[in-house]
């Protein structure tokens, strides 16, 4: 039997759309520095600002509100550190289930700010009741992800926005796992700040952006030239910015088709797995989750073992986060949902793409069934 490699880890990263790359390469002849005032500089500036306009319109923002960054990690840092720097020992709020780029930024600010971490319910949704009671007069920032990267569970942003109504606290949304899978409209979401990354959208790695409402002031983290309206020094990564704009445009145009396919794959996966009588439980509320992610608890195996066994069958998935020595740490997201139980070491994330075929799903289930039966022997 010829083994086909199956990648179902699209929430980790996506392959780059080659057509986007081609477009970008074709425009590489325009190489000027957008800050130069000569013609070459102006040509480059024109392309850069076109990308900014395109991106802004996709987010229902204005071009001056878009800051390009090296990725979402930088965008998250910029938003959080930028707000804290403008206050004296402010109170800031996030959740227990954020991505490391938010969580560890909050942790590193514990000397400069009072920090509250919101817990989650078992369904993977944060406890908005705790948000209400945690909110203080000096709360400067609430940072919440739109879609959790491990469970796919969507967070109740509208409700959070309502709780924050009339309050001075800024709302930062990490929308990395949301864009392309659902509408991301900064006005509709009521975001003051919002982070995105290109490499989750079939764009290249190393490029992202921060939406910053024109009413918000941030202290820059990277000081330098006057690029990005003084928000971030350094010559703009013009080619990758174009690539990101193009990736976002395609993801937005194709959003319905792609999400529908992802949902079909997810449904087929859950049905086939049930039919195959491989025991599992869904982590979080499947009805409140984004189209492309599903996280399953397999009580019969450690995730570490399962990932190795699946990798040996050329099926590539992930779970929680890996330590430097290649072993898995218990998932902080699942620990927040279910407490410190073995569920957080026996669960795996599957993340799908419109690029996948139905047969891929069958292969994954077959492999899981084979491993399950081997273990039960």
């Amino acid at each position: 039997m010829i083994k086909v490699a199956i990648y179902a880890d699209y929430a980790a990263t996506t392959p780059v759309d080659k057509e986007i790359l081609k477009k970008v390469i074709d425009s590489a002849d325009v190489f000027g520095n957008p800050s130069s005032i000569h013609k070459f500089g102006k040509q480059a500036k024109a392309i850069l600002e076109k990308s900014r306009r395109d991106v802004a319109s996709l987010l229902n923002a204005s071009p001056a509100e878009i800051i390009f960054t090296s990725g979402a990690t930088e965008a998250n840092n910029m938003a959080i550190r930028g707000v804290v720097a403008r206050h004296h020992r402010p109170h800031i709020i996030t959740t227990e289930i954020e991505h490391a780029s938010v969580l560890n930024t909050f942790k590193s600010l514990s000397a400069e700010a009072d920090v509250t971490y919101l817990p989650t319910h078992e369904n993977g949704v944060i406890d908005t009741g705790v948000l209400k009671s945690a909110l203080r007069e000096d709360t400067a920032l609430v940072s919440i992800m739109l879609v959790n990267n491990e469970t796919g569970v969507m967070q109740p942003i509208y409700e959070i926005r309502e709780i924050l109504a009339g309050h001075d606290a800024l709302l930062h949304i990490d929308a990395v796992q949301a864009f392309g899978h659902m509408a991301v409209d900064v006005k509709d979401l009521g975001a003051d700040l919002l982070s995105l990354s290109a490499h989750k959208l079939y764009g290249p790695k190393g490029i992202g952006l921060l939406y910053k409402s024109k009413d918000v002031r941030l202290d820059p983290m990277i000081t330098g030239g006057s690029q990005e309206r003084d928000a971030r020094g350094g010559t703009e990564n013009g080619l990758w910015i174009q690539a990101m704009a193009e990736a976002m445009k395609r993801a937005s145009d194709e959003s319905t088709r792609r999400s529908l396919k992802e949902m079909q794959l997810k449904e087929r996966f859950l049905n086939t797995l049930t039919m195959a009588e491989v025991p599992f439980e869904v982590n979080g509320d499947v009805n409140q989750s984004a189209s492309h992610i599903i996280n399953l608890h397999f009580p019969w195996s450690q995730a570490e073992f399962l990932l190795t066994a699946l990798d040996m069958a050329d099926i590539y998935l992930s779970a929680g986060s890996a330590c430097h020595a290649g072993t898995l740490e218990p998932s902080h997201v699942l620990e927040s949902m279910y407490g410190k139980t073995e569920r957080s070491t026996k669960s795996i994330r599957f993340s799908f793409s419109y690029l996948m075929a139905d047969e891929d799903i069958e292969h994954i289930v077959e492999a899981l069934k084979e491993i399950y039966e081997r273990l039960m022997k």
């Binding site: 073992f305 990798d311 430097h324 020595a325 290649g326």
Partner: protein, 368 residues
């Protein structure tokens, strides 16, 4: 011979021995897979994770050889089954051998199970020992490199365990292994051999142990004269026959540890390497494991510690299931907690854990 249908999981530590092991198996055509074991988490306490560098070496070597590589975490199993035993033995005043326990419980149990569940036919490690299979079953033989032979540490393995094990380095000299590593230009070719117990590493042993067990200083008594020779730092820090670290100066030395009295918290020392008190004539042992079938009463040779010459002994299985081992010549510094391992020429018959030590018919009470 086509070995491609035989899957071998190699326990890769990031050292030169397991690197060459993996390379040899890959070259012999086996479906070879490297797995790194993380048994100890030192990041919590000290902020540095030595496993990171070792795993990095596994990654480099696996990429060089062209084999898949993974990692598995046995921190919990190691703590429960090896480290707890290690502490318990020290609490009893004995000198444990965590490497023997690690081989028995982790490398050739937890890890072996993991590999088998992944579909492996064999597990291979870079140990210097040989395994042979014939109509009488599986036998374990000493490594050809006498100086490196590790059968002492493998004495608790069962036939069942050994039947799924490969030791490709068993018929090689260490110098040959280094040479091969250079020939293959492996990333670990010049890496220093690890020394000491894996979880202690290069750290100071006393300091490490004091982090887990309370040190209880007491008196050092000259066993022959009854003279008080000063203070000891805590009985657990000393092992029978030890000379270094007693801090006894002046005349009459050098001094050696000859016993411990847990009740009075006294450490007994004697003067002179060949002091009578350090010698014994027989021992009793439990945790008996024989790889090769033996009668209830037989003669063979034995090692009482690693890298020691064999001594001729007579072994008798007692009614209570324990072993009585009579030495042909008086043996020095036999240490409870350590392993006694039996050999018939090249064959490692098995081993047991030393419990009690005797001189003629008299038990040496303060050895344990």
């Amino acid at each position: 011979m086509d070995n491609s249908n035989i899957t071998v999981v190699v326990g890769m530590s990031g050292g030169v021995d397991s690197s060459v092991t993996a390379k040899l198996l890959k070259d012999q055509g086996y479906n070879t897979i490297g797995i790194f074991m993380k048994n100890w988490d030192d990041t919590d306490e000290f902020g540095v994770c030595t496993a990171t560098d070792d795993y990095e070496d596994v990654r480099l070597v696996a990429e060089e050889i062209g084999i898949p590589y993974y990692s598995v975490n046995f921190e919990k199993e190691y703590y429960d089954r090896v480290f707890q035993y290690f502490l318990d033995e020290y609490k009893k005043g004995r000198t444990p051998n965590p490497d023997v326990m690690c081989n028995k419980e982790i490398k050739f149990k937890a890890f072996l199970d993991h590999a088998m569940k992944l579909g492996a036919d064999y597990v291979a490690t870079g140990h210097y020992a040989r395994v042979t299979h014939d109509e009488n079953g599986t036998s374990m033989l000493r490594g050809v490199d006498r100086n490196k032979d590790q059968t002492y540490f493998l004495n608790q393995l069962s036939q069942e365990q050994l039947s799924r094990v490969m030791f490709p380095l068993g018929h090689m000299d260490k110098t040959e292994v280094r040479k091969l590593a250079h020939e293959y230009d492996l990333a670990t070719k010049d890496k220093k051999d690890s020394t000491g117990i894996c979880f202690i590493g290069e750290r100071d042993f006393k300091e490490f142990l004091s982090g887990y067990l309370p040190a209880n200083p007491g008196r050092m008594i000259n066993m022959d004269t009854g003279e008080d020779k000063g203070q000891h730092d805590g009985l657990m820090y000393y092992t029978i026959g030890q000379r270094q670290g007693l801090g006894i100066g002046g005349d009459g030395g050098p001094y050696f540890v000859a016993g411990k009295n847990l009740e009075t918290n006294e450490l007994y020392v004697v003067s002179g390497y060949h002091n009578e008190a350090l010698y014994s004539s027989s021992l009793e042992a439990s945790d008996i494991n024989f790889i090769t079938e033996v009668p209830d009463h037989f003669e063979c040779t034995a090692k009482f510690r690693y890298r020691q010459e064999d001594e001729p002994v007579t072994v008798t299985r007692m009614d209570d299931g324990r072993l009585h081992v009579e030495f042909k010549d008086a043996a020095r510094a036999i240490t409870p907690g350590q392993a006694v391992v039996f050999y018939d020429d090249e064959v490692c018959l098995g081993g047991a854990t030393i419990d009690r030590v005797f001189k003629e018919a008299r038990e040496l009470e303060y050895l344990g």
